[in-house]
Assembly symmetry: C2
Homo-oligomer: 217 residues x 2
DNA sequence: CATTGTGAACTCATTCACAGCG
DNA sequence: CGCTGTGAATGAGTTCACAATG
């Protein structure tokens, strides 16, 4: 008898990253009119090993047909369910500088169900201003109250690094347990909270390193 | 007899990422007036295992003093040399939308020696405009010529995903072999080129997954 | 018969544990 | 004595290789 239960432990972190990649390629394949796709093809598109694709999917179920491949539409929906992107998430963002403003205007997020529903800053020049997205900048003081009121699940930090931890603590006070941190600093949070960092400088350092050591510049 | 030679192969990719983290903490420690730091302390600050810190550094030499720790200033400089951030890099950016503009205005990059020296777009509205940074937006057509003329080593892509591969190909034509890709798509490049992706959507997907599977939302 | 699904083999990365040394 | 440096042990993640199967 087949267990449909997901063995959520022992799933490599990298698997989740790749599921997100597969999802995007499946969207494109569907758009291009493909109905089926093999692990080989999907692997090539995502630049991974075909066995990796099958193993990644294997953690969550049996989605393919032997000898044939995967139904593009079906697999896309299965991955949506796994990633929980078949729903809406509310996000609050703190730090409305150039980067914060750019993110607020990004079409990609709402298109995928990630909605900014509140924006915060400490700058009195900015507080009260209405952004192009239609959102009004609120005082950081109002963060905890607003986050709870609007049921925000994800906090986004685009502040200078000096205040990132303080802002994170505010999100934590407001029971947020997922933070997307764009500030170039490590923030410390308790076990009940998940943090993903997006750190431009680290990526540039890596390129710099590779240019020197692998390309000989 | 001690070999000073670096065994550049067999160094985990993640080690480079952590070196970048160590570097930043060392900057802060130096700023705060610390002269020495132990692997324990540095590890705590970066949220890694102390043995990891020592092993990471061990790939590149012996920088510590047994019984004492590491000289903050010295170690910082050693890591700068390893990462090749003790020099300037020229960057060109293609796609001057909200995100591209935000990056161009970011103080962090020039402060660390990563300088934008050219900006490209296809939008005739934007071409010729002078940006707040003082840089003038050039026609994407001029990319190959300009990149070679200004000796740009790093290409940054902030275009919509549909044109990201085409832009990458232009950078490749211009002999650029390091690309920082912000577009939410996989770009394919030959072995002579290194790519680092910064992908907001993937990070949100990961948070979404964790909220569902680990936090039970 | 082409392709999935998966245990086993392998490779890569982290952590332990302690010898080495200032 | 305390902390680094590192070989050895462990653990995690990837790839292989092939049995299972629509």
């Amino acid at each position: 008898m087949k267990r449909e239960l997901i063995k959520t432990d022992k799933i490599p972190k990298a698997t989740i990253t790749r599921l997100s990649l597969y999802y995007r390629q499946l969207e494109l394949l569907e758009f291009d009119g493909y109905r089926m796709v093999s692990s080989d093809k999907l692997a090539w598109l995502c630049q991974v090993n075909p066995a990796q694709v099958r193993k990644d999917l294997g953690y969550f179920g049996e989605f393919g047909v032997r000898g044939v491949g995967y139904d593009v539409r079906d697999l896309k929906h299965e991955i949506m369910k796994i990633l929980a992107v078949n729903r809406e998430w509310n996000m609050g963002i703190a730090g409305i500088g150039n980067l914060g403003s750019a993110l607020l205007q990004h079409q990609n997020f709402p298109a995928r169900g990630f909605n900014f529903v509140a924006a915060f800053d400490t700058d009195t020049e900015k507080i009260g201003r209405v952004l192009p997205s239609g959102l009004m900048v609120k005082d950081l003081e109002e963060l905890v109250f607003t986050v709870e009121e609007l049921e925000i699940q994800i906090g986004v930090i685009t502040t200078p690094p000096e205040v990132a931890q303080m802002v994170a603590d505010l999100f934590l006070d407001a029971q947020v347990n997922a933070i997307l941190n764009f500030s170039p600093t490590q923030i410390h949070v308790p076990d009940c909270c998940r943090v993903e960092n997006i750190d431009f400088t680290i990526k540039l350092d890596i390129l710099s390193y590779k240019l020197k050591h692998e390309m000989g510049l």
